[in-house]
Amino acid sequence: MTAILSARDLRREFVTKRPLFGAPTVVRAVDGVSLDIAAGETFAIVGESGCGKSTLARLLLRLIDPTGGEVWYDGEDLAHLPADRMRALRRDLQFIFQDPFSSLNPQMSVGALIEEPMRAHGIGTPAERRARVADLLSRVGLRPEHADRYPHEFSGGQRQRIGIARALASGPKVLIGDEPVSALDVSIQAQVVNLLEDLKDEFGLTLVIIAHDLAVIRHMATRVAVMYLGEVVELAPAADLYAAPKHPYTETLLAAIPVAAWGARPARTLVEGDPPNPIAPPPGCRFHPRCPYATDICRTERPVLTDAGEGRSVACHRAAELSLAGLDGAEPGRSPAAAARFALYARAMAGDPDKTNDPETGQTQPRQTGD
């Protein structure tokens, strides 16, 4: 594996309260994360609210500075790079935000928004940049003439496409998306997921996706890192992780997913209550107070992320002896009637290239041919 982006013992603390007297309250949002992201893969980071996944994503691109540790990209430690060098490297490393409503400047035209990264990096002449804006707009499923419009004129899905075009403008090698599709409706989400996968192939990108939707992750990711209270507790190829998790927290997450199929296994709650307060994480294994398998050692000794063979690693004292349930067989196959109808629909869609290639444009007359 050739790593394109690596984190080494990455840490970030936030001071949440600084009283006049006494010690400040500190949250360790990311607490000693080490991982390697391979060139060309789709790497996913999952976990629930407050686990530190968004902080980790921002640290990987140094949108925020780490408290400790290193981030290696192309032989350079981003965490300790002078600002001007970091600015130059941003050409290679781009970010897609969750909220397409707040991440685009409403006063800039779509063309100016997409051109801005090119201007910032001194890419091309004005004429070349305009041509590239037009090209990028059609690559993301919009139309070149949309360059003159403003963000408020677009729907959520279209705005996310604009955000993606902007992220691609500087010709990045790594694209990190923080919940890039979770604000979108299911049908629009599917369009953007497909778009991201197409663009990844087309531009030879490495994708890092932060998400809480485990089905989207299963579909997109090559490998998955599961986070709990600031730590990576399990890291594995996506298929293996879903079929046979090795960390009890991963098992808990998978068991809780409601499966959208008739006759599927019901969602289960292996743990009750909320995750503990990240300001005062429990000693030992941070999952031990909620873990159904915890023993004495789990209460006192903090497990480290250890190689478990087959490209997997896990931070659990009992990983070797536990046999945990994944989603193998949790989703029954489609009934013959449903399968036939899905095939029919897929064929009809494939035979209707107008609509598959030009989504979301021309809201009331989407079927103008020759557009």
Binding site: D185, Q189, H219, A338, R341, P359
Partner: protein, 333 residues
């Protein structure tokens, strides 16, 4: 089974200044103990339908222009405000996505629940407070005695959702309307809340209208399902019918759009385009602009037809059978 507890017919809601109704001829029936899921994406009218039933539409600009909703014999849509207030929070209760929309931030949790109990059951302070405590216990809030005297902001998101459910169920409602009750929650908390709602429903025999965009939640909770698109019900039936024999192209497209948890299928098959804005829906079938099967016939609105066993589909071509389908419009024009 006795007669329906709730029977909605021809519910139509207009938005001022918009030519087409934004909820159009919606109807369904619900028996005691049953759960009906209203499914669809943003703007399909699922939330407006529930708000109309509760008499909570913001009017103007929204207005119910036709329809009846018989709840235990009385028409909710024709009721005066005073009578509606008596029923809401009593025999009919609501749960929302964001608990802070129904919890008063300035009132202690216990006081809020007790207030509702006093109002609807006419009991005294002490008895109402005891009921509030009992409810917090039933929704499995840890240390309920302590929580009783806390304010909503002191609770986590999942706990607030539980507190809201406790308040909604405090008066033993016969009908519960829940609008995306778990959408804002993490998956493990969602599983806890869904389980809780199911078990409380079993205990009380309440009927539930559950509004959601998540087909996983539908599979988990629903007895019956109504799929909405553009303000209309496009397909309705039992959960089994919908999942094992989906008929409307929108239902099929929606299910195709969902990534699978099993082995990775290739590309996701999507629903093309976006929902037209209110008032700009096509004149016939409202899904026609996005439907891969649409033909000129779709310029006429299809009625919700019963394909047998109560499985209703609003599509001219249902039941969809290969070979039977008309030539696709895109190849025809």
């Amino acid at each position: 089974m006795t007669g329906p507890l709730l029977e909605v017919r021809g519910l139509t809601v207009a938005l001022k200044g918009v030519g087409q109704p934004i909820v159009d001829d919606v109807g369904f029936a619900l028996a005691p103990g049953e759960t009906l899921c209203l499914v669809g994406e943003s703007g399909c009218g699922k939330s407006l339908t529930s708000l109309a039933l509760m008499g909570l539409l913001q009017s103007p600009p929204l207005k119910v222009i036709a329809g009846t909703a018989r709840f235990a014999g009385e028409d909710l849509l024709a009721m005066d405000t005073a009578r509606l207030r008596e029923i809401r929070g009593g025999r009919m209760a609501m749960i929302f996505q964001e608990p802070m929309t129904s919890l008063n931030p300035g009132l202690r949790i216990g006081e809020q629940i007790a207030e509702s109990v006093r109002r609807h059951k006419g009991v005294g302070q002490a008895e109402a407070r005891a009921r509030a405590l009992e409810m917090l216990r039933r929704v499995r809030i840890p240390a309920p005695e302590k929580r009783l005297d806390e304010f909503p902001h002191q609770l986590s998101g999942g706990m607030r959702q539980r507190a809201m459910i406790a308040m909604a169920l405090a008066n033993d409602p016969e009908l519960l309307i829940a609008d995306e009750p778990t959408t804002a929650l993490d998956v493990t908390i969602q599983a806890q809340i869904l389980k809780l709602m199911k078990s409380l429903q079993q205990d009380t025999g309440a009927a539930m209208v559950l509004i959601t965009h998540d087909l996983g939640v539908v599979a988990e909770m629903a007895d019956k399902v109504a799929v909405m698109y553009g303000g209309r019900i496009v397909e309705a039936g039992t959960a089994e019918q919908l999942f094992t024999d989906p008929q409307h192209p929108y239902t099929i497209g929606l299910m195709s759009s969902m990534p699978s948890l099993g082995d990775r299928r290739a590309r996701l098959v999507t629903v093309p385009g976006t929902v037209p804005p209110p008032g700009a829906m096509p004149p016939g079938c409202r899904f026609a602009t996005r439907c891969p099967f649409a033909t000129a016939a779709c310029d006429a609105a299809p009625a919700l037809r019963d394909l047998g066993a109560g499985h209703g589909v609003a599509c001219h071509f249902a039941p969809l059978v290969a070979g039977d389908l008309p030539q696709l419009r895109s190849t025809g024009t």
